[in-house]
């Protein structure tokens, strides 16, 4: 049995064990190690990818279920010349620390902002329920995300 899907815009055919998690396949077969194996149980979000545009924890998806799917991992987001807005805001606000959670954070928040261009801080926090960070204490990530909101900026808005 083989599985054919698109990975970061490129056609792939996977011939290994269909029960392997997408996370294992990304990391070991394709050596795309941006998605991190942190909890392996879907709680932490460090392995978040987008499957047909939806943020999904790669550790819980058997690769055999992905026939015809469009998979995007962190390696398929932004370019060296042009980061995506969440990546750029994270640099501008100096929010990255150890960095292990950020690939997943970028995947979740990028999708979230597409659907919620004018979020409240509470909206952003709710969106991050499945993305845990052990270093930053979150709030400065929220500052960075709020800077991308299309809503009119209050005068007290945090600056980078």
């Amino acid at each position: 049995m083989t599985v054919s899907f698109t990975l970061n815009g490129r056609a792939r055919t996977y011939a290994g064990d269909p029960r392997s998690s997408l996370l294992e396949v990304l990391r070991e077969t394709y050596r795309l190690t941006g998605a991190k194996d942190v909890c392996g149980e879907g709680f932490c979000g460090a392995c978040m990818v987008q499957i047909d545009g939806m943020p999904t924890t790669a550790c819980l998806v058997p690769v055999g279920t992905l026939e015809g799917a469009d998979v995007r991992s962190i390696e398929g987001v932004g370019t060296e010349e042009q980061l995506n807005p969440v990546q750029q805001a994270s640099i501008d606000f100096d929010v990255v620390q150890c960095g292990m959670c950020f690939p997943g954070m970028v995947m979740t928040l990028t999708h979230f902002l597409q659907d919620n261009p004018q979020p409240t801080r509470e909206d952003v926090k709710s969106a991050l329920t499945g993305n845990i960070c052990r270093c930053t204490g979150y709030e400065r990530i929220i500052d960075a995300v709020m800077s991308l909101s299309l809503a009119p900026k209050p005068l007290t808005e945090a600056q980078p």
Binding site: K36, E75, R134
Partner: protein, 768 residues
């Protein structure tokens, strides 16, 4: 010529050079390094807490196709430890904790290594385990280390015996006489705390190979020179036969300040002739974490009619788990926490690190300072209640100031805590400390103080000035996420050499290239490696300016380094580009480089008052004032934090944004410790929280923005007057929340974590 530059040049909000790749998923941490050529290893861990191994047969595993090597205690005869060499890397005849390694297997895949581990035959004759401090200290307790007397003592002078791995004490002045005085009020308290798991997102991980007769160890560590030393010790090979390099580290928080998985991978690499990867699974990481230890603290103070603390006695029991580890060293730090915040007439403090048949504990951001501050500040509020004095006024009156003496009799320099307290209260005047909110919840507010230290000690640095006018900084420092290697060190070097920090290349740690260093921890990197880097820069400046003075026909003292040029001071444009001076140097003296070193100042204490201590005094104290408001739901016990404020002593803030990140992150880690993160040990001696479903670290919805104020100008030996800013933000979080919850509920909060269940029980009167 040292410090001949303007220190303010080092102050800036430099962005992190590693952020871009981290955000793009391109950074290769140790866990990302293993390609298809690497063997995968698995540890076979004991499934009992205390036992005699009656049979260990690895031949069935070794016979499996695809298994390349198996190792046991026969391959690693040495013992290691801090203070006492009590720790073998494999259980040989005796198992001392659930999860202790018994064997390790390298195979072509992880799945195969796991199957092979299950094929190893181990028979246990179980023994009764001691799982709690009380059980360990009972008169007839079984000994965790029956042969404790035979271990090598690496730091002499402490009392030891039975299940007491180490005892540190301070006896300063006559506490008996003070407690016997008729005019004092005596206040006593006892407190207990659980363990805290670091949960770094990158687990402990290593890849080892054996090349040209030497081990090469790539590892996720905070302390490459410690890894080098311990690997050599347990394998009984010369230290020069071990090279340690460190890729990006995905979080440490103290967990990676000790050697852990590295020796296993090293043995397998030599045996198999292949590169071997060993990575803890999340379950292993949870169950064998070198946690912040559980502890019991008793404090007793005598207060006179003016509110002075005339004497204090304290006993602290720290659970070191099955081996002494970091707790042995940390017994020293009890004294500096319980007797380093307030002026004490006399002090008697006894700290014991106690063996139990539980997973060993270790270092965690501000270590026992966090719970000793919790106990002390709750005790301080209980003193205030007993003598009827306002808690702010009491603290303001009694905090350590200029010329006051600390735990071991050292003299503190400068008034720091008092003006920090004033700054907090001026900014946030106290209207009330308890009450009821319109929504019916109980309101509480508290302000606390904390004293901790910057862990100094040896660091080395080399600075090579390159032909293009850039500089390369070579140290054994590691970037664990705090930004020190990405921000403060390049900022310091750049300011010293008059170049932009982007032109400072920071070499990642490699013990073959960089000199000895104690490791990244204890808030020491900016201070110790920073000071060594400044010393290296001073040599570079001297060589550079000597050549430039000749070219510019002036004296070296008239020259300054700025914007990548050497200029005659006060005459911009008068000099020449660094590149030109370097080119001239190459023709006359050769390329320019400097080396620098730093070590502890060895601040003096009062002779004879400390026993079993690793350091007599703290070279660089660091202070914090925290304040918070909470709302407590009486029925559920749920605590919401309404505000959280920090005034932190930073010496000099080199990068305010980066320090803000450390404060926000450190406070939130402290909130987890105080409220939700609970480690329990089952009857089988195993840690019961094996993953994120049962161990509750704070989520985005649980936190709030922390207000902060950086207190600058306190005395510091650090370069440019800096102090470490990353460790201390966690110091008084549990203390502040506990005091606020006690104020809200009117109940004597004495245990951590303050889970909703525990707080509800306290309110209902079912518990302390």
């Amino acid at each position: 010529m040292k410090n001949a530059h303007d220190p303010s040049l080092a102050v800036m909000d430099l962005p992190r050079r590693d952020a871009r790749d981290k955000l793009r998923g391109r950074t290769r941490y140790t866990v990302d390094q293993a390609g298809p050529e690497v063997l995968h290893a698995v540890l076979l861990r004991a499934t009992v807490a205390s036992a005699r191994i009656t049979r260990l047969d690895v031949t069935p595993a070794l016979a499996m196709e695809g298994v390349h090597a198996v190792a046991t205690h026969l391959d690693a005869p040495g013992l290691h430890g801090i203070g006492i060499a009590d720790h073998p890397i494999f259980a040989s005849d005796i198992v001392r904790y659930h999860g202790e390694p018994v064997a390790v297997i390298a195979a072509e895949t992880l799945a195969l290594a796991r199957r092979a581990a299950r094929a190893v035959i181990v028979d246990y004759e179980t023994l009764p385990p001691v799982l709690t401090l009380q059980a360990a200290l009972a008169p007839d307790a079984p000994l965790v280390h029956p042969g404790w007397e035979n271990y090598d003592v690496l730091h002499p002078g402490a009392a030891r015996g039975g299940n007491v791995a180490w005892e540190a004490r301070v006896d300063r002045g006559d506490t008996d006489a003070a407690f016997a005085r008729k005019d004092v009020t005596i206040v006593e308290g006892s407190y207990d705390v659980g363990r805290q798991n670091h949960v770094p997102f990158e687990p402990r991980a290593v890849i080892a190979s054996y090349e040209d007769g030497r081990f090469h160890i790539q590892t996720s560590t905070q302390a490459p020179w410690t890894v080098k030393h311990v690997v050599a010790t347990v394998l009984q090979v010369p230290e020069f036969a071990v090279r340690v390099t460190v890729p990006a580290v995905g979080g440490g928080f103290g967990l990676k300040f000790d050697c852990s998985l590295e020796p296993y991978a090293a043995i397998l690499a030599r045996k198999s002739g292949r590169s071997v990867s060993l990575v803890n699974s999340r379950r292993e990481e949870m169950m064998t974490c070198l946690c912040r230890e559980n502890a019991e603290i008793r404090i007793r103070s005598a207060i006179d009619a003016e509110g002075a603390i005339v004497a204090r006695e304290a006993t602290v029991l720290m659970d070191c788990g099955a081996y002494g580890g970091e707790q042995v060293f940390l017994t020293t730090m009890t004294a500096h926490t319980l007797a380093g915040n307030y002026r004490l007439g006399a002090a008697k403090i006894l700290t014991r690190a106690v063996y139990t048949n539980t997973p060993p504990n270790g270092a965690f951001r501000a270590c026992n300072g966090v719970y000793n501050t919790f106990a002390l500040e709750r005790h301080t509020d209980e003193i205030c209640a007993a003598i009827g004095m306002d808690p702010f006024a009491f603290r303001r009156r009694n905090v350590i100031g200029d010329g006051d003496i600390g735990a071991t009799g050292q003299t503190f320099q400068g008034d720091v805590l008092r003006p920090m307290l004033d700054r907090m209260i001026d900014k946030y005047p106290v209207e009330r400390r308890s009450g009821r909110l319109p929504d019916g919840r109980l309101y509480g507010r508290a302000t606390t103080v904390g004293t901790w230290f910057i862990f100094v000690g040896p660091s080395a640095a080399t600075v090579n000035l390159n032909a293009d006018g850039s500089a390369t900084l070579v140290t054994a420092g590691v970037e664990i996420g705090s930004g020190t290697m990405m921000q403060s060190l390049p900022q310091i070097v750049a300011a010293n050499l008059g170049i932009h920090p982007d032109a400072v290349i920071v070499k990642t740690a490699d013990t073959d290239a960089a000199g000895r260093d104690l490791g990244v921890g204890g808030g020491r990197t900016t201070v110790s490696i920073g000071a060594a880097s400044e010393a290296a820069c001073a040599e570079v400046r001297e060589k550079l300016l000597t050549v430039a003075a000749r070219l510019l026909q002036t004296s070296a003292t008239a020259l300054v380094l700025t914007n990548g040029r050497v200029e005659i001071a006060g005459k911009p444009g008068s000099g020449m580009a660094l590149k030109a001076v370097i080119a001239e140097a190459e023709l006359t003296t050769g390329p320019i480089a400097g080396s620098g070193a730093f070590t502890a100042a060895g601040t003096t204490a009062m002779p004879g008052c400390a026993t079993g201590h690793f350091i007599d005094a703290i070279d660089i104290p660091v202070f914090a004032v925290h304040d918070c408001e909470v709302a407590v739901d009486e029925t559920s016990g749920r605590c919401e934090i309404l505000s959280y404020r920090v005034v932190q002593d930073v010496g000099r803030a080199l990068n305010r944004r980066a320090i803000h990140g450390q404060i926000q992150g450190g406070v939130v880690q402290g909130i987890g410790y105080a409220l939700t993160e609970e480690v329990t040990i089952g009857a089988d001696g195993a840690i019961e929280q094996t993953g994120f479903d049962t161990y509750h670290v704070p989520l985005a919805g649980d936190v709030l923005p922390v207000d902060f104020d950086l207190y600058e100008g306190a005395p510091s030996l650090g370069p440019l007057g800096t102090k470490g800013a990353g460790e201390v933000p966690i110091l008084n979080v549990a203390a502040t929340l506990a005091c606020a919850i006690a104020n809200a509920t009117g109940k004597p909060v004495a245990s951590l974590p303050m889970t909703p269940e525990r707080v509800a029980a306290l309110i209902a009167g079912d518990a302390r």
